[in-house]
């Protein structure tokens, strides 16, 4: 879904562009939702997340922490993953992304509810320091979530592309798709029907503890993680 359509569905048409502005691929603004201000931070056009875009998002999170204690934050996620450029590596893209993740984590700990929603596409490095480190991450049913495209995966793993394509149809651990991420606990739930009602519900019941391994076990998509964690805690 286009971010503007999503914004209209969530916040209505009363406020022009809802206070959300696009600066290139970077989305940022404040909207009023159910009579309360909400910070919106995100990316669009399947943006690659490089140092610059990681810092832009981190800045918006820090500004919310500093100026609006407790204000909830909604992350609008549409990314093709991390920027694959030598200069970003040189500039410490992993540090910039860690910084973004840590600002979101600090907001959570500081009492802000932070919610991610994958409205178009989410891949690996662009996802791990946004939606996956929020209190909870939801997704639209038509969104796409994966780590890497299958041809690139075949190259890196040196496994035949045909085999990977076949496996991707059935294996939730491996296959792209939001349903698989729900089954594994990485995505809490999908938003269907009245999207504003979905957002309202998501903000109301976002967990503050990391329950994803347990969700993955309960939903049958990630059967071992929760058990292994418990076994480590109990090991003699």
């Amino acid at each position: 879904m286009n971010w503007k359509d999503l914004a209209v569905a969530l916040f209505g048409t009363d406020h022009g562009l809802h206070g959300i502005a696009a600066d290139g691929d970077f989305l940022h603004g404040t909207v009023v939702f159910d009579g309360r201000p909400l910070t919106v931070i995100g990316t669009t056009h399947h943006a690659p997340i490089g140092v610059r875009l990681a810092l832009a998002q981190a800045h918006a999170v820090l500004e919310t922490i500093r100026r609006h204690p407790g204000r909830p934050i909604l992350l609008l996620i549409d990314t093709q993953g991390q920027q694959l450029r030598r200069r970003d590596e040189l500039l410490g893209i992993n540090r910039a992304m860690a910084h973004l993740g840590m600002t979101i984590d600090a907001a959570r700990r500081g009492g802000h509810r932070v919610l991610g929603v994958v409205y178009d596409q989410a891949l690996s490095g662009g996802f791990i320091t946004s939606g996956l480190i929020a209190d909870a991450c939801d997704a639209l049913p038509e969104a796409e979530i994966r780590v890497m495209r299958i041809p690139a995966m075949a190259r890196v793993t040196k496994l035949p592309e045909v085999m990977l394509t076949e496996l991707s149809k059935a294996n939730p651990v491996f296959a792209p798709g939001v349903d698989n991420y729900v089954a594994m606990g990485g995505v809490r739930r999908l938003w269907r029907g009245d999207l504003a009602a979905c957002l309202r519900e998501a903000l109301a019941d976002a967990p503050t503890r990391d329950e994803r391994a347990r969700d993955g076990a309960d939903r049958g998509g990630r059967r071992l993680a929760a058990d292994v964690i418990t076994r480590v805690l109990d090991a003699a």
Binding site: H59, R85, G92, N94, H99, D105
Partner: protein, 300 residues
């Protein structure tokens, strides 16, 4: 002098920590391995490529994990990640002096990509929980596979990063960047360029690691002992200082110098003297070259 890079994960545990002190949780005899590899025709390992447990470091109890780069490049799968999360949650409960992660990983294990990605994000959250509780998390990087992908992010979530000059820390490996944007973007066979971009010397000069050591298990041990009492809680003030530093640094390459190497340009603009001689300088020399601008506001 024993090369840290050439040691296996278990040899590192044996040599970095007090002799004979490592006690493993879910050892290979427990056969906790990945269920996802057989279907791909790929061999599994009885520890899923990571050893975790407790050990003593200079007489103090610490919790430790060591990733085995020889097994799937240290890639994080469902079980591997869950062992790390379990270790960190146990640290949150039992409060050891510190948690040490001997990282060697290409990041998410693509063979179980979705589970690995979620697992790495769980590791990040768990690291930040431990750090917030005041228990230092220290990452040691010196294996030949480096520390990349999600583990490169995890490393920068820790209190303290120790690297050797031959260690590498980053997000995407040179092969992936070359495959994506061509050899003129990043020639993965140009070893000098690879190390200038992500190697230990660069990470030290730019402040991305907190200690630079020789490729020597005893040097890693000494640096780990120095770091294990240094808790650096994440505060908003610290995040703001970090932000300012990263923003300043990024601006230094807004106008690259034509026909000059980006790394040398960056070091020079950070204030490194004789930046073009860094590649040939030994570790001791490079340690003395780090400019104040690389750690301004975020030190201590």
């Amino acid at each position: 002098m024993i090369s840290y890079a050439e040691c296996s994960a278990r040899e590192r545990l044996a040599r970095v920590f007090d002799a004979g002190s490592f006690h493993e949780w879910l050892p290979p005899s427990a056969r906790v391995s990945s269920p996802h590899l057989a279907v791909l025709g790929v061999p599994s390992a009885f520890d899923d490529g990571v050893a975790i447990g407790r050990a003593m470091l200079d007489g103090r109890e610490v919790f430790v994990a060591a990733q085995e780069g020889e097994f799937m490049g240290g890639g994080v799968g469902e079980v591997h990640g869950a062992k790390l999360v379990g270790l960190l949650r146990r640290a949150l409960r039992d409060r050891p002096t510190a948690v040490l992660l001997l990282a060697e990983s290409g990041g998410v294990r693509l063979h179980e990509a979705n589970a690995g990605l979620i697992a790495v994000s769980e590791v990040m959250r768990a690291v930040l929980d431990v750090r917030a509780a005041g228990t230092p998390v220290i990452v040691l990087i010196g294996g030949s596979n480096g520390c990349f992908g999600g583990m490169g992010i995890v490393a920068r979530c820790a209190d303290h990063v120790v690297m050797s000059d031959i260690g590498r820390l980053g997000m995407s490996g040179p092969e992936v960047i070359e495959a994506s944007h061509g050899v003129e973007e990043f020639d993965s066979r140009d070893r000098a360029l690879v190390w200038r971009t992500t190697g230990g010397k660069h990470r030290w000069l730019s402040g991305d690691c907190d200690a630079l050591v020789e490729d020597d298990v005893a040097a890693f041990r000494a640096a780990a002992i120095d770091a294990m009492l240094m808790s650096r809680p994440v505060t908003v003030a610290r995040l703001e200082a970090e932000h300012a530093l990263l923003a300043r640094r990024q601006a230094l390459l807004d106008e690259p110098v034509a026909d000059s190497d980006d790394a040398v340009t960056l070091w020079t603009r950070l204030g490194v003297t004789d930046a073009d001689r860094v590649a040939d300088a030994d570790v001791d020399r490079v340690r003395a070259l780090r400019p104040a601008a690389s750690i301004e506001g975020v030190e201590g």
